[in-house]
């Protein structure tokens, strides 16, 4: 009898799970969109899958106007066919203009504060008004939310953009030594296109972007070259012709060495990149000219890297996290800086890539 009592007690203690969230009665919000509405109001879009076979659409888009995202969602409950939950949210999308004018952090607060929301959703910046994305018709694609996620993930794997989830976005926003960034999504002729990187400043406001072409170099700076980073160069300098060479970076060794001289931070960035030549539209005798090609490639890469670093310094943002190295190696001096992005803007960054051609293919 006593044993039975213990067993029953066990179950009474377990009342924390008393609130059921039966799947059938839920409206799963997979994508949340935030855009600027009229009169300073917020437009909140939520996309959720529809399972009913009799309905024509496989997902529904609910648009509400509210003061905050949670306020918008509460209003959306009036439209939805089930209780709205965000535990499976895949994408949090903000429009570019909205990101430009507002501190992202205060609007994203609800996604961090309420533990029922997913913190691994991708944070995405959309180039254009959000209604273009929300009401896009993708007949040959899966549900919009899944399609958006897949496009971002594929583009990230190909280094055409980057990805950042809510947790990382929060960390890079709160860290003094870096600034947040986000992938950019566009709708081009009725198709989803991911490419480029949105840069946010200390105040979590959108300040500028890196183009799709610059994205692979951003990945290299972030030491993220695997599985393969593909680059294409014009060989004019090398062969005097307008021909192309494509390489794929297979692995890299990186070292970031910060120092402080003459009132500014210096960074010596050394990287050894192992590349495979994947395409060559002209003839170069690789056997003989390997060293020369390697040197030329290193120079080209250096040029590009320096230009994006300049861009970041111009915007006073540090999405790469140079500040992390500064803080690790020069802690006292780092702590003295009032604002790291400002100090970063003044810093001198020397990038010295060396390229080693591992293979130039099976053809000669």
């Amino acid at each position: 009898m006593k044993k039975c009592m213990y067993v029953i007690l066990c179950f009474f203690i377990a009342t924390g799970c008393g609130i059921r969230t039966q799947l059938d009665e839920l409206t799963l919000v997979l994508t949340v969109g935030l855009d600027e509405g009229k009169d300073g109001n917020l437009l909140v879009y939520s996309i959720s899958p529809v399972f009913n076979k009799e309905s024509k659409n496989i997902y529904e888009v609910i648009r509400t106007v509210g003061m905050t995202p949670r306020n918008g969602r509460s209003k959306a409950n009036a439209f939805a066919s089930g209780k709205i939950v965000g535990g499976k949210a895949q994408n949090i999308i903000v429009s570019k203009t909205f990101a430009k004018n507002h501190d992202m952090f205060s609007y994203l607060d609800v996604f961090f504060r309420d533990p029922k929301n997913s913190t691994t959703a991708n944070f995405i910046v959309f180039d254009g008004p959000l209604k273009d994305l929300m009401y896009v018709r993708l007949d040959d694609k899966p549900r919009l939310s899944v399609a958006i996620r897949d496009v971002i993930l594929t583009a990230h794997a190909n280094k055409q953009t980057t990805k950042i989830n809510m947790l990382d976005f929060r960390r890079s926003s709160l860290d003094r030594a870096q600034t947040p960034f986000a992938p950019i999504l566009k709708v081009h002729k009725g198709d989803l296109v991911a490419g480029g990187i949105a840069l946010f400043n200390r105040q979590r406001k959108y300040v500028g972007s890196l183009s799709q072409k610059e994205s692979p170099y951003f990945a290299i700076l972030k030491k993220n070259v695997k599985p393969a980073t593909s680059l294409t160069f014009q060989t004019k300098e090398l062969t005097k012709q307008k021909e192309y060479v494509s390489i794929s970076i297979e692995h890299g060794d990186f070292s970031y060495k910060p120092s402080f001289r003459n009132g500014a931070f210096h960074f010596d960035v050394h990287m050894k990149l192992g590349v495979i030549v994947t395409e060559l539209t002209t003839y170069i005798d690789m056997k003989k000219e390997k060293k020369k090609v390697e040197k030329w490639l290193a120079k080209e890469i250096q040029k590009q890297l320096e230009s994006i670093v300049k861009k970041m310094q111009k915007y006073e943002v540090d999405p790469v996290g140079f500040g992390l190295y500064a803080r690790a190696y020069e802690y006292k001096l780092f702590q003295k800086q009032k604002s790291w992005p400002k100090a970063f803007a003044k810093a001198k960054i020397n990038i010295h890539p060396t390229v080693e051609i591992i293979s130039y293919g099976v053809l000669q």
Partner: protein, 489 residues
């Protein structure tokens, strides 16, 4: 005996016959055969049940020599018959018991001793392949319903003088003969004594089957888990004997009982030891996985759909959502409906003759599987889960353990639907707690996990190479541990 009037056989043949006829009324199969034997002729009486004896043996080995006996017969001890097993008694109790067991009793006029001759020969089955526990590499001989034959099968594996057999009977009416087999230098005397004490205490009419005996002597009748192993394989019985366990052979029952057992032994088969160790280890892990799947798979589905939709990966969630779209039942009802359906199918198939059994399979597979989904009563995913659970429960080699596991998933499903994963964890903890405290013949059934005996883990989740298992497992408290020498590096 005989209403307490007569205990012993008298000298008078007529009186003895009268006693017998008074005792055995309405027994047409009891044969009274009057003979005149020896020179000069003396009256003798042969009685036997013609349903329980080998008639050839009686005709050729008893009646024929007796008829042609030419010597003078003074006492019954003078009678020489070509039968190996014979004994004398003066007690009625013995006579009647033996006659019931198929022996033939010979009364001689003027002698109060009765000659009992072994002429047993009742209908019996030939030794055949074990039906329930078939194996790939093990022997293809299974136990049958005759105790002697079963002991013979075991003795063939263990021709050793330390294999001791103790005989006793159970049941006031049935007098079911029971043989207790053990290796005297390995089995712990206390465990053997405990078993004998428990068997002695049984006071029933009879036991029809080994399973009945098991229920009378098991340690915890309220446990869902079996505490004795029933097997119809002689090789399995011998392998357990060698681990210091005790084998109980029950006459008239085709399976023998083995104890004390541990939980993990129900997941071991004879094939494990005759296949190479890597494959055997893989199969062990597979069975362990099946154990968890059989208990937890439907409850996980219910918990995930009722409380924790977040733990389902998105793509699966969309699939589940689509397939559950038309289902009118909550996950618990849906799962219980399907689980009950498959249990019914199994039970129906079990009792039906093979040709009709196929029909059950078709009806079950097509109607309940396909049609129920198309009708929108259950979801596709549920059908997959139910099938996986059923297959997982069939992988467990011991039918008793397999059934108890199948039973356990129902309380788990209810706990999952009430409290989600928390309820499942509580249920799991209760099972583990129960297993740890469970005993078999006074030895811990959770061994070698609780109490932890690391040396014995070699033959649990993985099966280590045979030459590494040099000691007997401690679970049965063997008095002699050494199993083999270190003869290989």
């Amino acid at each position: 005996m005989m209403n307490g009037i007569q205990q012993t056989v008298t000298h008078s043949l007529d009186m003895n016959e009268q006693t017998l006829r008074d005792y055995f009324t309405k027994t047409p199969d009891l044969i009274y055969c009057h003979l005149f034997i020896g020179e000069p002729k003396r009256r003798a009486l042969l009685i036997y049940f013609n349903t329980l004896v080998d008639k050839n043996s009686i005709n050729n080995n008893i009646i024929d020599p007796l008829l042609f006996e030419t010597r003078q017969i003074h006492t019954i001890a003078d009678i020489q018959l070509p039968i190996g097993s014979k004994s004398y008694t003066t007690k009625w109790e013995h006579v009647i018991q033996r006659v019931f067991q198929g022996e033939t009793a010979l009364f001689l006029d003027g002698d109060d001793h009765v000659l009992l001759l072994d002429t047993q020969g009742w209908p019996q089955r030939a030794i055949a392949e074990p039906q329930i526990e078939s194996s790939l590499k093990g022997s293809h001989q299974g136990f049958i319903e005759t105790c002697e034959k079963n002991i013979a099968l075991i003795r063939r594996y263990l021709p050793h003088q330390q294999l001791k057999i103790e005989e006793t009977t159970v049941g006031r009416r049935g007098h079911t003969p029971i043989s207790i087999l053990y290796l005297e230098d390995v089995a712990h005397p206390e465990v053997v004594q405990e078993l004998k004490d428990r068997i002695e205490q049984i006071d029933v009419d009879t036991i029809i089957n080994t399973g009945e005996l098991m229920q009378h002597i098991e340690d915890n009748p309220f446990s869902p888990f079996p505490q004795f192993l029933l097997t119809e394989r002689p090789d399995a019985a011998v392998s357990n004997l060698l681990q210091g366990r005790i084998v109980i052979v029950v006459d008239r029952s085709p399976s023998v009982m083995i104890g004390p057992m541990t939980f993990i032994t129900f997941f071991q088969t004879v094939d494990d030891y005759s296949t190479r160790w890597m494959i055997a280890s893989f199969l062990r892990l597979l069975r362990l996985l099946a154990f968890f799947m059989a208990i937890f798979l439907p409850s996980t589905y219910i918990a995930a759909l009722s409380f924790h939709y977040e733990i389902i990966p998105l793509n699966l969630l969309l699939t589940v959502g689509e397939s559950r779209e038309r289902v009118p039942l909550p996950p618990l009802l849906e799962a219980i409906l399907m689980e009950l359906a498959i249990e019914m199918l199994r039970e129906a198939g079990l009792r039906l003759p093979a040709p009709i059994g196929q029909t059950v399979g078709i009806v079950g597979g097509v109607v309940i599987g396909q049609a129920a989904v198309e009708a929108g009563i259950v979801s596709n995913i549920m059908v997959v889960i139910v099938s996986l659970t059923a297959i997982a429960s069939f992988i467990i080699p011991n039918p008793d353990m397999s059934e108890s596991i199948r039973l356990l998933r129902f309380p788990m499903m209810v706990a999952a639907s009430l409290f989600g994963l928390v309820g499942m964890v509580i249920g799991f903890m209760l099972i583990i707690g129960h297993l740890i405290s469970l005993e078999s013949l006074g030895t811990p059934a959770g061994s070698p996990f609780a109490p932890a005996r690391l040396r014995d883990w070699k033959d649990t989740l993985l099966r280590f190479p045979l030459w590494m298992m040099r000691t007997r497992p401690l679970s049965a408290r063997p008095t002699q541990l050494r199993r083999q020498k270190k003869f290989r590096k």
